[in-house]
């Protein structure tokens, strides 16, 4: 098929939108840690742009989207972007240059690696995190992306639906975050109830705003064409984010006061949950999906705190559980009338789809948890995951990076 200019423009813009989400994650996470760890937290996300941006063009794209090997992984036929050029791929996004599809996918891999870092802030060694990230991209992200989106991937063949990465990005990142936090252990003082006060809530809101903005590229861009389906996914995305932000605000208000931190978190939860569903449900289904996401993530967060697990910035609660809800919700609310490439869900009388979604959630969740646990342990026994206690007390900005966020004599 020839290159379609409208589709190509939209995919390139969407790629740029998704790229901006990673600095968005840096701001979102950076505002929530203590002031001595702002830079190190932001650096963990920003470094993913450098690390994953390289590994993806070298071999990551090929492992995910290369010719299928047994439904598990792609062949290395696209190694170093061999055969990935200005002509469309015969298999993926056949109206845009193969390079455009490749770079769109690169942004997804980058942000997924960045998302995990929320679990390990304020105590992980930077070098160990980089090593873990490279291993994780290669051995967890690339296979899972192939299972779900690769031509011949086993979950794709099963018929599990994931429009824009609810399973590949969010469940995968959220469950891996929990496993890595458990391997790493809690921050000093966490178990004694030391308050871990966010240093800059305005920054959190700016990050959430950039995430919301970029998510239009993430979800509407996943239509891979510039058409009605993209518009439908766009509206579903905004509706879910709005419903979840509003619901979280009400929950926070019922508890005591409507916080900005909570409302921003709610928006992200709503965006996570609509991700797998965006192009398979009618736009108004964003309302139940978003409301459900806020309620589920809110109580998962409370549960995580009650269990005294220091999965510090709640990647599991928001991305893992929000993503799982979104995947199941896709099986409930999907309608083949919205997208012929999709399927009918439970509400349209197709019980089977919900089962397929559940298999996707459990398979990816179990694999991500187990593989991350092993990789985390491996990095820990070889190079050591954790900073020394003095380095942790001083803060990672100075001990890991030799710089501080707020200079000047008087602070």
């Amino acid at each position: 098929m020839p290159v379609n200019p409208g589709d190509t423009a939209w995919i390139l813009i969407s790629s740029a939108l998704v790229m901006l989400m990673t600095p968005g994650v840096a701001l979102f996470y950076g505002g929530m840690v203590r002031r001595k760890n702002v830079l190190s937290t932001m650096m963990m996300s920003f470094a993913a742009l450098g690390l994953v941006g390289l590994l993806w063009v070298l071999y990551g794209y090929s492992l995910s989207f290369g010719t299928d090997i047994g439904g598990i992984i792609g062949r290395l036929d696209y190694l170093g972007l061999r055969q990935v050029g200005q002509e469309p791929s015969p298999i993926y996004a056949s109206t845009v240059p193969h390079l455009a599809f490749m770079i769109f996918q690169a942004m997804f891999a980058i942000i997924t690696v960045a998302l995990i870092t929320g679990a390990v802030v304020e105590r992980i060694r930077f070098g160990a995190l980089l090593l873990f990230s490279a291993l994780w991209l290669t051995l967890v992200y690339c296979p899972v992306a192939h299972w779900v989106w690769g031509d011949g991937g086993w979950l794709a063949k099963l018929g599990a639906l994931d429009f824009a990465g609810g399973t590949v990005v969010h469940i995968c990142a959220g469950i891996s975050a929990l496993a890595l936090a458990l391997v790493l252990g809690p921050r000093r003082g966490f178990c004694h109830g030391e308050p871990m006060e966010p240093n800059n809530v305005p920054m959190v809101m700016l990050g959430a705003g950039l995430l919301w903005f970029g998510w239009f590229g993430f979800n509407a861009g996943s239509a891979l064409t510039s058409n009605g389906l993209a518009a439908s996914a766009f509206v579903a995305t905004n509706t879910s984010a709005a419903a979840a932000a509003f619901t979280w605000m009400v929950l926070s208000w019922m508890y005591r006061r409507p916080t900005l931190l909570g409302t921003a978190t709610g928006a992200v939860a709503g965006l996570v949950a609509i991700t797998p569903a965006a192009g398979f449900v009618s736009p108004l289904m964003g309302i139940p999906i978003g409301m459900g996401a806020a309620i589920i993530c809110y109580y998962c967060m409370l549960l995580r705190m009650k269990l005294r697990i220091d999965e510090s910035l709640d990647v599991w609660a928001v991305h893992g559980m929000g993503g799982a809800w979104g995947a199941l919700a896709t099986g409930i609310f999907a309608s083949a009338a919205v997208n012929a490439a999709g399927a009918d869900g439970l509400l349209m009388g197709n019980v089977l789809q919900l089962g397929k979604q559940a298999i996707g959630v459990m398979a990816v969740g179990a694999f991500a948890f187990a593989a991350t646990w092993v990789l985390g342990k491996l990095v820990d026994v070889t190079v050591g995951l954790r900073v020394g206690s003095m380095e942790e007390t001083v803060g990672l900005d100075i001990s890991q990076h030799g710089e501080r966020a707020y200079g000047g004599l008087l602070r």
Partner: protein, 112 residues
């Protein structure tokens, strides 16, 4: 000479500054400090649930006065900084051995 260290509510800085000026004391040092007394901390909200902030922001004013002026200075500060609620602050009076004006080298009471 005595140094008066008054730890007061942030919003009381202006009234206290005015009352010190009315008593003839223009020079003072002001800093932002954190502390706690009987007011204890306040609860703030995290994404879910809450945490306690134990130390609250306060203003510390340091002013050095003549011995004879101590009682009326203390009165001026307490009258202008008081709300009657917990958290109004505290005042400490500390003896001062000497003072020097850097510009002229003047010593003692002439320097304040």
């Amino acid at each position: 000479m005595k140094k008066i260290e008054a730890i007061i509510r942030e919003e009381k800085l202006e009234p206290v500054r005015k009352s010190l000026e009315a008593n003839g004391y223009f020079g003072m040092t002001v800093s932002e400090v954190s502390g706690r007394g009987r007011q204890k901390g306040i609860p703030l909200q995290w994404r879910v649930g809450e945490y306690r902030v134990d130390f609250l922001p306060k203003i510390k004013i340091e002013v050095v006065v003549l011995d004879d002026d101590v009682p009326r200075t203390l009165n001026a500060i307490t009258a202008s900084a008081r709300t009657g609620e917990m958290g109004d602050g505290k005042i400490f009076v500390i003896p001062v051995e000497n003072a020097v004006r850097v510009r002229t080298g003047e010593n003692g009471e002439n320097a304040i």
